[in-house]
């Protein structure tokens, strides 16, 4: 059965009206499928989506998932949907296949695919690869977790195009035939245990990225990641590595303070590390990973070096948010797990005042004690996880609560001396106080801007 026939005429139940759900519905309708979209939120919050679906003659339901969904041939789920949802349990019991949006869209992807997964650095690396491939003149489409769903991108792709896809382990949980030409696993750390149930399940989910690859494909692993190297996945793909250390059996590595890559089997200098704009040891790994992926698409070292010199990084990922009275503010709102916070601590070289907290994702904040010793001056905690963080870190670092992120910024500023850094790297999800981590990052940057303008932004007492 050709891939398009898996869509044409089929009843496709789509869960969730978020970006990827809507993209799946559009794709299904365009290819002659019979999509049905269902969302648990009330219609009042989904006006735009409902209007669009109505205009496309796509049936839908809001305010809950009903039996209608189970009358489909298969289901397509958004990355945000929990597989433990009642309706999905029922679907599984009925033997209904459940696919992630990436799996679904990959059936009809006309070009090549590079899939990037990992616990940390996905977004930076995926964006960086997109920039490099674009600079090399390839028709490149960056998509996946980053923003644009793959289902939206495939319509615009040609056989010579490349989709650079950021893939989360949740999306990999529900793949069947997803077969990227190049797959990279950046690192594996206990991040989403709350959803996967166990660390091993999480690791196995990541490894599924290579399960359909064959010897025409490439799998790229992180030579420096102990977890990956302790039990690498079984694969039929050609295996290669990247490293931020001097390991010349890799396809990209760091030696003598420079980034190197293998070209025609010989080590080739890409550029000295200090010329790379994005800073920190984690970004060195990201750069090496990007180079390793780019070389699979035949990009030359000079192009990679040119992009690494100009690429300024990703919003909300160790993003410089401004300098006020000699205090540097860094927005790392995207750090939603403890390991990302550890990376952030490594990359900041001055004494720092750390803003932590939000909705707990089961992280071990004790892991930060060693790294933070002598570096963290104060911790200000916000959100639901604050008591847990206080218990974990309070004995080692002065810890105080703040009522809001705005207040946390003000507290840190009051505590910081010139030359020190205020770092928002929450190590938690944002949903207890914000719409998403982007919202949290924007509030942080707005608070810093308010400090800069000298405006007292906590509503003052009037009169």
């Amino acid at each position: 059965m050709s891939h398009e026939e898996r869509i044409r005429g089929r009843r496709i139940g789509i869960l969730g009206m978020a970006r990827s759900g809507m993209a799946s519905a559009r794709l299904a309708a365009r290819l002659g499928g019979r999509p049905f979209v269902s969302d648990a939120a009330p219609e009042a919050r989904l006006h735009a989506q409902c209007d669009e679906l109505a205009s496309l003659d796509i049936p839908f339901e809001t305010g809950g998932h009903t039996e209608k969904l189970l009358a489909s041939d298969y289901l397509v789920v958004s990355p945000g949907v929990l597989l433990t949802l009642d309706i999905l349990r029922q679907a599984q019991a009925k033997g209904l296949p459940i696919f992630s949006e990436i799996e679904f869209a990959s059936w009809v992807c006309p070009g090549r695919m590079a899939a990037i997964t990992g616990a940390n650095g996905k977004t930076t690396t995926t964006t960086l690869i997109g920039e490099i491939l674009t600079a090399a003149g390839l028709d490149t489409h960056v998509c996946g977790n980053i923003g644009l769903p793959l289902a939206d991108v495939v319509a615009r792709m040609a056989p010579h195009s490349v989709a650079v896809i950021e893939v989360s382990s949740f999306q990999l949980d529900t793949i069947a035939d997803f077969k990227p030409n190049v797959a990279a696993i950046l690192n594996i750390t206990p991040d989403h245990i709350d959803r996967h149930g166990s660390f091993d399940a999480y690791k196995q989910a990541k490894y599924r990225i290579t399960e359909n690859q064959d010897d025409s494909d490439v799998l790229i692993l992180n030579r420096d990641d102990a977890v990956t190297m302790a039990g690498p996945p079984e694969t039929r793909a050609r295996l290669t590595c990247f490293s931020a250390q001097a390991l010349s059996d890799c396809s990209a590595w760091v030696a003598e303070d420079s980034l190197w890559m293998a070209r025609d089997g010989r080590p080739t200098l890409v550029l000295p590390c200090r010329e790379i704009t994005i800073k920190g040891p984690h970004n060195l790994q990201n750069a090496a990973a990007a180079a390793a992926v780019a070389t699979q698409f035949g990009v030359d070292p000079a192009t990679i070096a040119r992009v690494l010199r100009s690429f300024a990084g990703v919003e909300h990922r160790l993003e410089r948010a401004g300098m006020v009275a000699g205090v540097q503010f860094i927005n790392d709102s995207k750090a939603t797990n403890v390991d990302s916070v550890a990376w952030a601590l490594r990359s900041v070289e001055t004494p720092l005042h750390l803003i932590l907290g939000g909705r707990d994702k089961g992280g071990q904040f004790e892991d930060l004690i060693e790294l933070g010793r002598g570096k963290i001056r104060n911790i200000i905690v916000i959100g639901e996880a604050r008591q847990k963080i206080l218990e974990a870190l309070g004995r080692n670092f002065p810890t105080q609560f703040a009522q809001s992120l705005e207040e946390a910024v003000e507290m840190c500023f009051a505590l910081a001396h010139p030359g020190e850094t205020v770092l928002l790297s929450p190590g938690c999800a944002s949903f207890d106080m914000f719409d998403n981590y982007e919202h949290r990052g924007r509030v942080f940057k707005a608070s810093v801007a308010a400090l800069k303008n000298g405006t007292n932004h906590v509503p003052a007492n009037h009169g």
Partner: protein, 367 residues
């Protein structure tokens, strides 16, 4: 940001309205419960009402002022003010005792309880101090030790008056605020032990009010076997029934029920307007507490949160201890019922708490 632009500028009108209704109903009940006693003791049935009316007017002035000051700016002064209060507290021992207790300070025509002022300033000070960004919540040397001397001295002086009820309220307020600030449970226990030990020593070794504790333990099982006060309170509730005997028609206040217009006013209300009236009173008080919680949660900063939560919690403790004693669920410690009991200090400080909450309600962010 839009969130700030929509920040409320007006204070919580519903809270003010319910407060005023509470205040008015309280005045009616004070008159009803006290008029006969007033006529026989002071020659005028209006005596207590007139006094209470003056306190009510003063309370409204206090609220008016408190809603119009920048609390955050005045917060640092709460530390020296609290310190000064330590020197005001012992002045009560120079006054004439009432019922063998030195709780009151006579200043011209005004009778004041400095312990109430101490409680109010202490909440201010704790909110200010516990919200300091420099404070390490996990360090007992920063969470317990700095507060022990000043609050301990105050507590000791109040205990000597003796005013066990005020001590209990202050202790519970401090513990509640430490908890809300994020202190670790272990350290809160650490702070609890000395006052608990002192309390047990005073009650069980020195014998102060120990009889009342034993009476209380007996009366939990059956109020009619308890002490005289507890027994009369139970009888008063009983005679009220569902709908009460009618405003002004209560008989228990005719020198059966002790303190019918002060500590036991809740029983007087029960007799005259019945269970229905009591439920109305509880609903009003519950609304005040609920408003306080809502205002606390909506605060944009730690100081506002701790101040609003501290004021609300302290009010709740006061209400619970009074109603608990009157309904013989808790031992009698002699606490006034906020907003209802006759007495200036209680009314003014309880109203001041409402004033603080009204002030803080304008900082609540629309979310």
């Amino acid at each position: 940001m839009s969130r700030r632009i929509t920040a409320k500028v007006k204070s919580d009108e519903r809270l003010m309205l319910v407060y005023l209704i509470t205040l008015a109903f309280g005045l009616v009940m004070v008159y009803s419960a006290s008029s006969i006693m007033a006529a026989s003791r002071h020659g005028s049935q209006w005596f207590f009402l007139r006094q209470q009316l003056a306190w009510a007017v003063l309370s409204l002035i206090v609220i008016f002022v408190l809603t119009r000051v920048d609390l955050k700016r005045f917060a640092p002064y709460s530390a020296p003010a609290l310190f000064l209060t330590i020197f005001v507290l012992p002045l009560v021992f120079l006054m004439e005792p009432r019922n063998d207790a030195y709780r009151w300070l006579q200043v011209g025509p005004l009778t004041l309880q400095p312990s109430e002022l101490f409680k109010f300033l202490m909440i201010m000070y704790l909110a200010f101090s516990l919200s300091n960004p420099r404070r390490n919540l996990a360090d007992p040397r920063q969470m317990v030790v700095p507060y022990a001397p000043i609050i301990g001295t105050g507590l000791l002086l109040i205990l000597l008056e003796p005013d066990l009820g005020a001590c209990i309220v202050i202790c519970l307020t401090v513990l509640g605020m430490l908890f809300l600030a994020g202190a670790r449970i272990k350290h809160i226990m650490l702070a609890t032990l000395p006052p608990a030990a002192l309390g047990s020593f005073v009650v069980f070794v020195l014998g102060y009010k120990s009889e009342r504790i034993y009476q209380y333990l007996a009366s939990v099982l059956d109020p009619l076997t308890g002490g005289y006060q507890v027994k009369q309170a139970a009888l008063t509730f009983g005679s009220g029934g569902w709908l009460g005997v009618g405003l002004g028609d209560g008989r228990q206040k005719l020198f059966f029920l002790p303190y019918p217009h002060t500590d036991f006013i809740f029983a007087s209300i029960g007799e005259e307007v019945g269970l229905i009236g009591l439920i109305a009173v509880l609903a009003m008080l519950a609304f005040l507490i609920y408003s306080g919680c809502r205002i606390a949660i909506g605060q944009p900063d730690r100081f506002g949160f701790l101040l609003a939560a501290g004021m609300t919690w302290s009010l709740f403790v006061n209400i619970a201890i009074n109603i608990g004693a009157v309904t013989s669920l808790l031992p009698v410690t002699g606490r006034a019922l906020p907003f209802f009991s006759y007495g200036g200090s209680s009314l003014i400080v309880s109203s001041a708490a409402i004033g603080v909450l009204l002030n803080l309600s304008r900082r609540v962010e629309a979310r």
